[in-house]
Amino acid sequence: MAATATTDARGDRSILERSPSARRADPLFRGVLTALAGLVLALIAFFFIFLLRKAEPAFSHQGVVSFLTTNDWNPSKDIFGAWPLVAGTLITAVIALGIGVPIAVATALYVTELCPRRARGPLVVLVELLAAVPSVVYGLWGVFILIPKLKPAEQWFADTFDFLPLVGGTVAGPNYFIAGLILAIMILPIVSAISREVIATVPADLKEASLALGATRWEMLRMAVLPYSRAGITGAAMLGLGRAIGETIAVTLVIGNSPVLGHTIFDQGYTLAAVIANEFGEAASDKLHAGALIAAGLVLFLLTLLVNAVARWLVHRAEVKAVGTPAPAEPVTVAA
């Protein structure tokens, strides 16, 4: 190769030495890769500063605190209080976690610890298939199937349990609950996949020890597996939360897009992501309105950033504890 091919007749250079051009190739290659990696940092810095600058008109018009806490989103009067949107985002995300996480963790427990070995592979693939369905298709399905089919059940629930807070009244077709339910379905694969990874790191010794002491399978899960993997499962749930907060299209289609904060979970609502999707067309010429939407995007970005940072830290810590070396925080799933 380059090193041995260049033999210098006059003996200036050992035949084992690389030619000057070949020696330049290595730093060059390294330099190019480093530059590309640096470009990622530059891109994100640019991304963040740009959003911040473009959101500035809205923040200076409304004030940051007032933007977040005012319960009035009225672009035609230049009032941008994003509280109904922030609250809608949080309400749907909480419903999604409440429904999605227990099912996802139960699925992960069943698949890793209880199910017959032969059924494991197919079950994993089936759960991951949920992630292959695009957001807009879930939205379509929600609008035409879920909303009409579930409405009687929701109304019955609202009537029967109207003594509970946030339950009761007349059920609107599109509402917070439907949006939360669809989000639950959408976060299920990722939460389940990461829980599965975390549960798989529980040492066999622990499980065998509890079984040897006479624990039943459920007691083994409850006393050995779950406490050991609690931090990791919490992290998985937080990653799901990050997904639920940022999900746009499916939610836009099924939440009703009403900028007034609803009184119950069966009222129409709005989320940060949905307001951006809906109002951007009309906001193009209006700097203030556009700024408010970018501010909404920025809040969304920071919210997901925070949630994901905590989640990754938890998953990372759980996995370091388990094997001594960190495993990848996110497995390569269909929608990873």
């Binding site: 290595d26 035409f144 039943t216 990873a336």
Partner: protein, 288 residues
């Protein structure tokens, strides 16, 4: 003793109930999958016909609605361009992280911010491209197919990078050391030893990112937007399946809703095919 047997029976019963519950929850998790696929097939297959795939949407409210040719071609064109940018870029960043940046602050920072990018909601990328490229009219047009590709590429980049990093880490260091001991320069070790060894895994991860990008609506909504006609010019507005579906869902016309179901079935089929190819690629991998 009797208390122990009583206790055991209760414990055994709890065990049985809880195991039943876990099984039931697993079944419950699969219910939406079955329902989505069932309704997609039931409503979508009815919309499929030769004309569905070979005509553009007409945009008429009444009468013939046309098919989704422009949407399918637009999705393929924009995703292909996005992949052509994001995959080499993502592989290069992953190579840097694994080959040169395992330690050190710069590598850690890059790794952290790639993770940050993974969590950014897709609508925020769409918003970003909208205000940087579309509003300012870059390249002489407002909405354009290539701007949609940029938004998709931003979305794909962190996914490609993360999955490539995981695969590249699986390449045994012994292979690298053996090649370098033979006097091979580092860049040749990377190109001739590390990359070929990791290739099946790299392809799998990248195709999964492609599959994910193909289903995204939010980044395309304000970048490539919605048009009726087919175009092969990425400087023009470009139709795509997700945006077409999003637009058709809110129509009061049953024929248009029917087209949305057909388009949704086509989109899911496209994504599943890509996923399948991705899985087949990793079959050839010799890395665990």
């Amino acid at each position: 003793m009797s208390s122990l047997t009583f206790d055991s029976r209760r414990r055994r019963a709890t065990d049985r109930v809880m195991r039943g519950l876990l099984l039931a929850a697993t079944g419950l998790a699969l219910v939406p999958l079955v329902l989505v696929i069932w309704f997609l097939l039931q409503k979508g297959l009815g919309a499929w016909s030769w004309e569905f795939f070979t005509t553009d949407p007409t945009g008429n409210f009444l009468g013939d609605q046309g098919g989704v040719k422009s949407a399918i071609l637009g999705t393929i064109e924009m995703v292909a361009l996005a992949a052509a940018v994001a995959i080499p870029f993502g592989w290069a960043v992953a190579l840097y992280l694994v080959e040169y940046g395992r330690r050190g602050r710069f590598g850690a920072a890059v790794r952290y911010f790639v993770d940050v990018m993974t969590g950014v909601p897709s609508i925020v990328f769409g918003l970003f491209v909208y205000i940087t490229l579309v509003v300012s009219g870059w390249g002489g047009s407002s909405f354009a197919g290539w701007k949609g590709s940029v938004a998709l590429a931003l979305l794909m980049l962190p996914v490609v990078t993360r999955s490539a990093e995981v695969v590249l880490q699986l390449v045994p260091d012994a292979l690298r050391e053996a090649a370098m001991a033979l006097g091979t320069p580092r860049w040749r070790v990377i190109l001739k030893v590390v990359l070929p060894t990791a290739l099946p895994g790299l392809i799998t991860g990248s195709l999964l990112a492609v599959a994910r990008a193909a289903g995204e609506t939010a980044p395309l909504l304000f970048t490539a937007t919605l048009v009726q006609g087919t175009t092969f010019d990425l400087g023009q507005r470009m139709n795509s399946l997700p945006v077409q579906i999003f637009n058709d869902v809110s129509s009061p016309n049953d024929d248009i809703v029917q087209r949305a179901w057909g388009a949704a079935l086509a989109l899911v089929t496209l994504i599943l095919l890509t996923t399948l190819v991705a899985r087949l690629a990793s079959r050839r991998s010799r890395l665990s």
